[in-house]
């Protein structure tokens, strides 16, 4: 795992010292709120509905056990004993008090973490495939590139005041688990005809009020050219981006208004200038960074105990079937620890759970931890012979839920339970969907399904790319939920289609049930997933199930 250089360390400490003084000056009145707000936002501190919220970056989703324990310590010392993992591979603390924030930032710096650039119009935390370095389908580990991008973008003088926030996602696998097409820049590793690795560069994706799938500006960028190329994109955006209108300021609008060809030409022209200037310094740095991401010393041991246990224990088998992913080493598995126990808040972990996960990572997982954009925790390297013991320990802590990739593995933003921008709640909708279908014992029969919920059009819950998306709105002072179907966040990314009029808070769970019963009726065979079925039959049967049934009921 990457360890801070002296430069990183000094920079983060200096920022903590600066912010500590800024908080002091706010508290003694020398700074007004208008002066202080941008300063606190630069350090990840928001004011929410009921309290402040501190957003801490987990660069490319990678975390050491020591860092996880420190997050638990922060949760216990200055918050309410839990943290919320988000779709941007951050953790949010929902209850810090302003005078305590400098101490929290200092505690984060002790474990090489910070909250810098988790807000504001700068390059945000770079997100990556949470299976990086472990996935069987991977061409190369994307984390060294992500770390290179982190170092380059942190405090980059030219890119601190972009027209709007800027989000980069990277995956080292052709199968996109990082939703690269919904980011300002998406980098997807591919091979060219000669078999060399490089990146497909996707620009101008984004969700929010104007959802767009990114466009490919380069089918193949040699990996050596990554940094000058990304800088060229930022540079073109910085010059062209609409600073006059917040709603048109994201690069997706710039790409849309400029046109793919014109913007590609501008990027290439700028790239030609920059490439020469970089002069190979980035290559040297990348080589150094790469050493920090060397694979762990994989154990070579028999796995028959795992096979026997898998056959014998149905509870373990159910968990293994949903929560394990193929590792590039056949003796190993990638374990997804579900933070979606039925009825719990998606993405929340208590401090006890964090400590246990840290212990388990040390005991069984080569001390490597990941946070996924789907709000779960990953142990990327677990030897199969350790899986039964690991599973037993997880179950005891309420972390053994076997639902990864199923209906109750829902992404939900904080919504109106926390967020000051929300127009409706999202967490309780997720909780009720999970418990309702658990009671019906239907989720395994329904199979792979991604439900994603946002509490306003900002789309932090990725609802546009959910197979079923739910958007909470305020319709004349009442919570109302709009449904979209057919969204997809993979390499075949699609924005979901609206079904029609929305549903009230107490109608949304029955509405989703009607959609899913229609799916069970019309699928060709159990292996046809909801998304495949939707692509085959289109919207009509689902609309009928949603609205005709409602009409009949109203008429009755």
């Amino acid at each position: 795992m990457y360890s801070y250089s002296d430069f990183d360390e000094a920079f983060v400490r200096a920022r903590v010292a600066q912010f500590s003084q800024q908080v002091e000056r706010r508290l003694d009145g020398s700074l007004t709120e208008d002066e202080f707000r941008p300063l606190r936002l630069m350090n990840g501190l928001y004011l929410q509905l009921h309290a402040y919220m501190l957003r801490v970056a987990i660069p490319y989703g990678s975390l050491s056990p020591r860092q996880m324990r420190q997050l638990a310590y922060i949760a216990d010392t200055w918050d309410k004993g839990y943290g919320h993992f988000t779709t941007r591979q951050n953790i949010q603390f929902n209850w810090p008090k302003l005078p305590d924030v400098p101490a929290i930032l200092s505690a984060l710096a002790d474990v090489q973490m910070h909250a810098i650039q988790t807000s504001g119009n700068c390059v945000r935390n770079v997100t990556a495939d949470h299976f990086a370095g472990a996935a069987a389908d991977e061409i190369a580990d994307p984390r060294p590139y992500a770390e290179l991008l982190r170092q380059w973008s942190t405090d980059h003088p030219e890119f601190q005041f972009l027209p709007r926030k800027f989000k980069i996602a990277i995956t080292g696998s052709p199968n996109d688990r990082a939703v690269t097409k919904a980011h300002d820049i998406g980098l997807r590793m591919v091979r060219n005809a000669a078999g060399e690795p490089g990146f497909e560069v996707i620009v101008g994706g984004g969700l929010g009020r104007t959802p767009m799938i990114g466009v490919t500006v380069r089918d193949f960028l040699p990996e050596a050219d990554l940094l000058p190329y990304v800088e060229a994109i930022l540079s073109v955006y910085n010059a062209l981006g609409r600073r006059d209108n917040k709603y048109k300021a994201r690069i997706k609008i710039t790409v849309h208004e400029t046109g793919r060809e014109a913007i590609t030409e501008m990027i290439e022209a700028r790239f030609a200038e920059l490439r020469a200037q970089f002069g190979g310094a980035d290559r040297k740095l990348l080589a150094e960074i790469r050493e920090a991401f060397a694979p762990p010393a994989f154990r070579n041991a028999p796995t028959d105990a795992y096979d026997a246990f898998y056959k014998a224990d149905p509870v373990f088998r159910a968990w293994a079937d949903t929560n394990l992913t193929r590792h590039r080493n056949d003796q190993y598995a990638i374990v997804t620890i579900s933070l979606k126990a039925h009825g719990q808040t998606p993405g929340d972990a208590t401090s006890d759970q964090m400590r246990l996960i840290a212990d388990l990572a040390e005991r069984y997982g080569h001390s490597d931890l990941r946070i996924s954009h789907e709000q779960n925790v990953i142990l990327p390297h677990v030897h199969k012979s350790d899986l039964p013991a690991l599973h037993a320990a997880l179950v005891k802590a309420g972390l053994g839920t076997a639902n990864v990739g199923l209906l109750s593995d829902i992404i939900a933003c904080p919504g109106m339970d926390y967020c000051a921008l929300a127009t409706a709640r999202s967490i309780p909708v997720a909780q009720e969907l999970a418990t309702h279908f658990e009671a019906l014992k239907l989720e395994h029969e329904i199979g792979p399904l991604k439900i994603k919920i946002s509490g306003c059009i900002n789309a932090c819950g990725h609802h546009h790319v959910g197979h079923i998306g739910i958007l909470g709105l305020d319709r004349a002072g009442v919570e109302n939920y709009q449904i979209t179907l057919g969204g997809d966040g993979t390499e075949d990314a699609v924005i979901g289609e609206k079904t029609g009029p929305g549903f009230a808070y107490d109608e949304i769970v029955p509405a989703i049930e009607r959609i899913l019963r229609a799916y069970l009726d019309l699928r060709l065979e159990p292996s046809e997933t909801f998304l495949q079925a939707f692509r085959r039959v289109g919207m009509e049967p689902f609309k009928a199930a949603l609205y005709e049934a409602e009409g009949e009921r109203n008429a009755a």
């Binding site: 004011l47 109106m416 339970d417």
Partner: protein, 101 residues
């Protein structure tokens, strides 16, 4: 005839703790919505908001929220303001726990 003014309360978050508070008629900041001053007049509402905004070391983000009279004092009308009187719905945190009884 002028349009009827929807009654308001002044609400904000405490600068240090972030807690939701309401401005009372006797110039205190109360955690209870029902203790807020119910303002029935637009000009007076603007005066009270100015008064709130001047207290830079106590509160942040003061604004006027719709309210209506109730048996125990002003009640919120919009669901967002109802949630602000209680705290989140997924945990017994915030006012619903801190101020129980």
């Amino acid at each position: 005839m002028s349009r009827r003014f929807t009654p308001k309360v002044v609400t904000a978050n405490l600068l240090r703790e972030g807690d939701v508070v309401y401005l009372t008629a006797d110039d205190r900041w109360s955690p209870f919505h029902h203790e807020a001053e119910l303002i029935e007049d637009e000009a007076h509402a603007q005066m009270r908001l100015l008064h709130a905004n001047a207290q830079k070391l106590v509160v942040v983000g003061a604004y006027l929220a719709d309210a209506r009279p109730g048996p125990n004092g002003p009640e919120p009308t919009h669901f967002r303001e109802v949630f602000r009187t209680r705290g989140p719905s997924n945990y017994p945190h915030g006012k619903q726990a801190d101020l129980a009884n």
